[in-house]
Every structure is written in structure tokens, then in C-alpha cells.
Symmetry: C2
Subunit: 135 residues, 2 copies
């Protein structure tokens, strides 16, 4: 299977495959006599694994670690679990942060409906009450 065929099946850019190879995420596939990459059919599943893991929030470095684990010994499962739980905790943190941002913003937007003096914008004032300054 050639580069663009594989890329097409998985829905990634063909350059991305070369990038993954450079990065060590994909092993170098065999080459045809003309020097073209010739991927085995299993490469499709491998790439889908990578994409799925990315969707779950793993970085490519972590994906690489997962791939090593996958062919690893009996302790691998625990390591994988650790990675996944670490990801989970990180996601929880990020969700909390975004939620805080969202709530603060909602408070600000709510000020828009308050009666206000002529030309003053409650929202902008609320972000910082003393804004005059350099510009």
C-alpha cells in the first residue's frame, strides 16, 4: 500500500505519515524497487489506533509510549493504566479551568443587561474598572 492510499484510508495528509516516521512513531516500511514506501495492510489499524488515542487527548509522545507498551511484557497493562489515569486527571484539570473561565465570562455578560450610564460598557468596565492608560 502506498503512502497516499494509506493516508486516504485513514483520513490524514500523506505528509503526516512521513512526519510520524521521522518522529519514530511509525517504523520505516519496506520499499519497492523504485524506492516507494510499501505499507502492510495492518498499518491502517495502527494509524487508527494513533488517531483514536489522539482523540482521547494523548500527545504523540504518549501515543508512542502506548505503542511500545502494546508489544511489552505483563507489567505493561499497569503502565498503560497509569498513563490513562494521568490523562484523565489532566483532562479534569483543564475542564475545571475552562469552566471557571466560562462562569466568569457569563457573569460579565450578565452585566450587559444591567441599566448603564450612557456610553459606558459594563462588560469592559467589569474586566478592569480603571482602564484609561497608554492607548
Amino acid at each position: 500500500m502506498r503512502t497516499s492510499e494509506l493516508a486516504g484510508q485513514v483520513g490524514v495528509n500523506a505528509e503526516t505519515l512521513r512526519y510520524y516516521e521521522r518522529r519514530g512513531l511509525l517504523n520505516e516500511p519496506p520499499r519497492t524497487s523504485g524506492g516507494y514506501r510499501d505499507y502492510p495492510p495492518t498499518a491502517v489499524d495502527l494509524l487508527r489506533f494513533i488517531k483514536r488515542a489522539q482523540e482521547l487527548g494523548f500527545t504523540l509522545d504518549e501515543v508512542e509510549e502506548l505503542l511500545h507498551l502494546d508489544s511489552g511484557g505483563p507489567d505493561s497493562c499497569d503502565v498503560a493504566r497509569g498513563l490513562a489515569e494521568h490523562r484523565q486527571a489532566d483532562l479534569e484539570r483543564r475542564i475545571r479551568d475552562l469552566q471557571r473561565m466560562h462562569d466568569s465570562l457569563a457573569d460579565l455578560v450578565a452585566t450587559c443587561d444591567r441599566p448603564r450610564a450612557d456610553r459606558s460598557c459594563a462588560l469592559l468596565e467589569a474586566i478592569d474598572p480603571h482602564t484609561e492608560a497608554t492607548r
Copy 2:
């Protein structure tokens, strides 16, 4: 007020101020006879506005827009509200995405507690059941 004093008061790197100036976020302050930037005291509030807006999830481009609005006409309030609501919607989307990732990951980690055949990792299998491939 000199660059590093301002930076220190707001808690940013002094280089960041030059960066904001290059970007057009801060106007060029007056200079001393020796060519040093001499910020007015109000610059502290301005920078705090910028940092606060960043914490709320606004990009620097959006912050710049907010700053323009702040000195703008009576319609500015509506524009500002629009920007804020757009940010809110974006945050909601991102929160939902992360929540989905988190839930999927939780499902995977749950498989870790299931009884499993000797050396196979349910978590890794669950991400993709057919992983053998190129590496």
C-alpha cells in the same frame, strides 16, 4: 516607569512588553532622553486588563479588539458582548469535547479491572482491537 518595573508589577517578563508593543497591543510609550521606555502609571491597569482577558480565554487578537472597543463609540458595548458570547460558546464547545474524551477514557480505564487473559491489556485492546502492524 521603566520596562522591568512595569513587568515586575504585573508579573510578566519584560520581553513580553516589547512583544505586545510589536504586536500593536500596547502603544509605544514616551522615551527618556537616553532612549528608555517610560510608561505612565496607568499602563499597569492596562496590562492587568490584558492579563485578565487572557485568563478569560480571549486571544491577544481579541484582547486588542476589546481595547479598541473600550475607547470606542456607544455601539461598542454590543460588539463587546458579541465577542464575549462568542468566547462563551467556544468554551462550551471545548468543555464538551474534553468531557467526551474524559468519559471515553474512564470507560477504558474501567476495563483494567475486568478479569483478563494472561498478558493482554484490555485498555490497549480497547483502543483498537486489531493492533499488530508495522511496529
